[in-house]
Symmetry: C2
Subunit: 589 residues, 2 copies
């Protein structure tokens, strides 16, 4: 029991910090009223009229009549998608009022296992952002379809669940639950046997009896909702509805929020998450504050919006008693904001410490010495050359019909397009006129030297290659281009960087970003990294792509669980069948 | 993982039971829509259109277009106040749609310690009522002011918290928290260190900084609210508001519900509890169903009312993922009810088993062989005679001024009234003309033979004595009357019964009820016991009392924590001061 906290609450000892003269947004009572918040150490001591808490040594922050809200919580985010190491990531989101995130650090796990995740959690502890760990339920995501560096089995998951910061099991995939994947069911059982820990879901396209089965299995959240039916399907089955508004998928904006508002359903179990947030979006638009701006613009009430990113998010993790509200005894995560019309987070206090002031960061977290497990993670079994990417046609063929996968321009969902391609010296040729590029994934965990190959449309790139050591969910090196030589150069340059993203144009490296941490993340500041990534994107735009975030889309093309096709180090994947297939349909001539 | 449940949800195996053709009251989505519920074993498998779950061997219950709600939960009740042993108590509340209770069995603990409570929990396991154990935070309630049989210290509390059915710590008294009672703070700390367990509060009359301090200490609920200010004070501080509507205090009816409705506050953290429910109320009026009838009559919406006694109650214990809703994976606690206009629970399913049908109980729980610790619990150190109750006046006094405590007629709150009483042979005499009776409490745990004495008003009893081995919160024998002889006879008869309630009128036992279990509870059925208690009350009414439940009021006069006065085995108590005081103010002549 924190007796100092009680003394401050009772008025027997001055508070360390008091926010005064604001309008309290009380997410429990659903009211907004004048008042302030008193803080002792990292904890809220009193809320309301807290003038009695001010004394010698109390730091006073005048809210100047603005709103005082709880700090924001993102209940489902992969920080790795920001390409920022934990410390600059913390700086980046704190600036936008996010004081807590729930994350599985799954991408780090794919490369460096639990050891890597624990190293990143340790790095995050050196910041004022509170990181709650959701243990990955599956690494690799699709064991038979890809090669990963790290591996999670039920034993490792049990060990990870013992961590004090472990709040549940992440991304329990509905289709695996329905297939009664034994290791997943075992891990869900282990999780739910531990009081206070939840099984977080990943339930796209699941309806009726299948949704009942997922709920019956104990899954209580889902961030994979797209339409009005999804809203009903989740809330009626007791599944917390996480409206996703991230860089890779803006489901909230694209109809989901309107569905919630029109339906008139109880919103106690609705929150906003970002899932994947791109560096440039974080820099230019923000985080949950940006999602709220959009939501308020679509007519969501101020109070509900704040509830969506505070108490409701906490409720999805049974953590109401610790975070998500301006309540004595809770972590002192506090924002001062403007109202719904021109929403902006002005000042943020995280764990009792002021971290921003009038929209400016006033803290800086030093780059730590990274644990060795996080570094030097790119290892090829064989040298990579232009020949590595060549796909042979059937003996004697001059023209073949192949399956090309096309991505949509606004979300990396793929579909099949059959095209005819020429064969030169027995090798199938890409055709930029038809928007058909080579795409391949090169195993980089030093395990087997696999290279999977396929054909890609929708990117409209000409005259070079893009390569990236970020490639969901196995983080082998994905490379795409119209020249075998440029592809090899790009992949080798990524390896030289120890991981990163590279564009080769007409035989030369035209732009690059290094991700020395797991091949996923950079130690640059948000501003520096955003500048580099914008330069990278600018080259990709020049090469013809209409996709705003081409590398993030490219990273998702290797995801063996997103409809309808993918390429991994093992080959071209039919996602629905869960099988490796031959992209060659037949010989035309 | 329950694979049979998954198979039923998926439609691969017929459900054990299906409720069809109803209107689902979905407490998550806040909707009411047509559908049914499918059950596998003790768990809900699917909700909505569940016709696909019906197959060979499925028991079908036709809801005939009525409402289907989750089973009701009482988040704060002492079953001992019903005077029924656990099994007839379970029958009594199941008949009214209550499928789960949260209880500390504190009264049993006062008499027989943790051993007694564990024996009662074991007895309850033989029923379909789910009993969640909230570990008593203080036995005795006021260590310096009363003598109890059992005793709870932090070590025993830690042991009790380890039980799988232990969901938190009960009745953390605000004033003790504020006084930083070391053992209580230690136990709260122990509780909150265990994920999923909560510190339940008892916070009457606590406002402002004191309420902030209680919330800061980690207390998250309170059932002691009386007025509009209390509503705001709790909800704004993140304290779950338990509207009490029981036999001893009808706070919900008396303004609290109106305050909630008028305020327009978010009601996700509001539930209804009964705290103490008298045998005759349970028999004649019901349980939470009766509270809901009243609430609907006062204008509460049907959906909110159902939320108040289901999901919200579960939320107060962080148990949303287990109970409180019609959701796959939750305990199959299901009611079929009529609507708000003429509210009645028709049929109840508890843990998947149908226990009532059209308002009739269809189960019976056999009386168990009670553990020895629950029986023969009345032990006097000295014989009890008329002399035991005489209070001596100062030497030579003929008339004295004394403090008499008066109870209110509708709630057992006491206030001070100074009266002048005659002295005969050195003994102060009661005066029924002034409505001043003798009252005393006789220590009955065989520990010290204490007898505390005082004067009582408000009961308006004439011509005899009432005695009871139920006496909150020490359960010594409380006795009140206008004759020392009748008081002695009544107390001795209670002892002969092994505990119970007795009325002596003009030297003879006029009515009695035996409570062989801990001196608190009976093995009679609800119907039998209610008949006996009505006969007992009838005699008390004949003797002049205007109080509807005179014995329940009498039991509360020994409660050393309810304002403003009390009598315990140690003497007359000034509650605010927490001291034993002399009722004699001075000598008049």
């Amino acid at each position: 029991m924190n007796k100092e906290l009680l003394a401050v609450a009772k008025g027997l000892k001055p508070a360390d910090l008091v926010v005064t003269n604001g309008k309290i947004v009380n997410v429990y009572s659903g009211e907004i009223y004048d008042g302030g918040v008193a803080v002792c150490g990292d904890t809220i001591a009193a809320v309301g009229d807290v003038s009695y808490c001010i004394g010698e040594g109390t730091k006073i922050i005048d809210a100047e009549g603005k709103y005082i809200t709880p700090g924001f919580l993102d209940g489902h985010i992969h920080p790795e998608s920001s390409s920022l190491a934990m410390r600059p990531f913390a700086e980046g989101v704190l600036l936008h009022g996010t004081t807590g995130i729930m994350t599985d650090l799954h991408e780090v796990g794919v490369v460096a296992g639990l050891e890597g995740i624990e190293a990143c959690l340790k790095e995050a502890e050196g910041t004022d952002l509170k990181v709650y760990f959701i243990v990955p339920s599956h690494v690799p995501f699709a064991p038979n379809l890809e090669t990963s560096g790290g591996k999670f089995d039920p034993e490792i998951i049990r060990k990870a669940l013992q961590r004090q910061d472990a709040v549940g099991l992440s991304e329990c995939v509905g289709h695996y639950v329905l297939a009664e994947h034994p290791e997943l069911l075992e891990s869900i059982g282990d999780t739910l046997s531990m009081p206070g820990k939840t099984a977080q879901g990943h339930l796209p396209g699941i309806y009726g009896p299948n949704m009942a089965a997922c709920a019956a299995a104990g899954i209580t959240t889902c961030h994979e909702s797209f339409c009005e039916q999804d809203v009903y399907e989740r809330l009626r089955n007791g599944i917390h509805l996480q409206l996703r508004e991230g860089s890779a998928a803006r489901n909230m904006t694209l109809g989901l929020l309107q569905a919630v508002m029109k339906s008139g359903v109880d919103t106690a179990n609705v929150s906003i998450v970002t899932d994947d947030l791109h560096t440039c979006d974080l820099k230019d638009r923000g985080h949950l504050d940006d999602a709220l701006r959009t939501a308020f613009g679509q007519g969501l009430s101020f109070l509900k919006g704040i509830q969506f990113v505070t108490i409701n998010a906490a409720r999805a993790f049974q953590m109401e008693n610790k975070i998500g509200s301006l309540t004595p005894g809770r972590r002192a995560d506090i924002n001062i904001t403007t109202g719904a019309e021109d929403f902006k987070v002005l000042t943020t206090i995280a764990g009792g410490k002021q971290v921003t002031e009038n929209g400016q960061l006033i803290v800086h977290y030093e780059t730590p010495k990274h644990e060795p497990c996080l570094l030097n993670t790119v290892h090829f079994v064989n040298p990579i050359t232009a020949d590595s990417f060549k796909m042979k046609a059937p003996e004697g063929a001059k023209k073949v019909k192949v399956m090309c996968m096309d991505t949509l321009p606004y979300i990396p969902f793929t579909s099949r397009r059959d095209v005819e391609l020429n064969v030169v010296d027995g090798v199938i040729q890409c055709d930029t006129e038809q928007d058909v590029l080579y795409i391949a994934q090169v195993e980089r965990h030093g395990k087997n030297g696999n290279i999977g190959k396929a054909f890609m449309g929708g990117f409209h790139i000409k005259g070079g290659a893009l390569a990236s050591s970020v490639g969901h969910d196995n983080h082998n090196i994905i490379v795409m281009g119209d020249s075998f030589e440029d592809m090899a150069l790009a992949v080798n340059r990524v390896a030289e960087l120890g991981g990163g993203q590279v564009i080769v144009r007409d035989g030369k490296v035209a732009a690059e970003v290094a991700y020395p941490i797991c091949g996923l993340m950079s130690d640059l500041s948000l501003d520096e990294l955003a500048a580099q990534k914008k330069a990278l994107n600018a080259v990709a735009y020049e090469m013809g792509t209409p996709i705003q975030i081409p590398f993030m889309f490219l990273c998702f093309i290797c995801l063996a669980c997103i409809e309808a096709y993918a390429v991994t180090d093992k080959g071209f994947i039919d996602v629905e069948k869960g099988e490796i297939i031959d992209p060659i349909v037949g010989v035309v001539e």
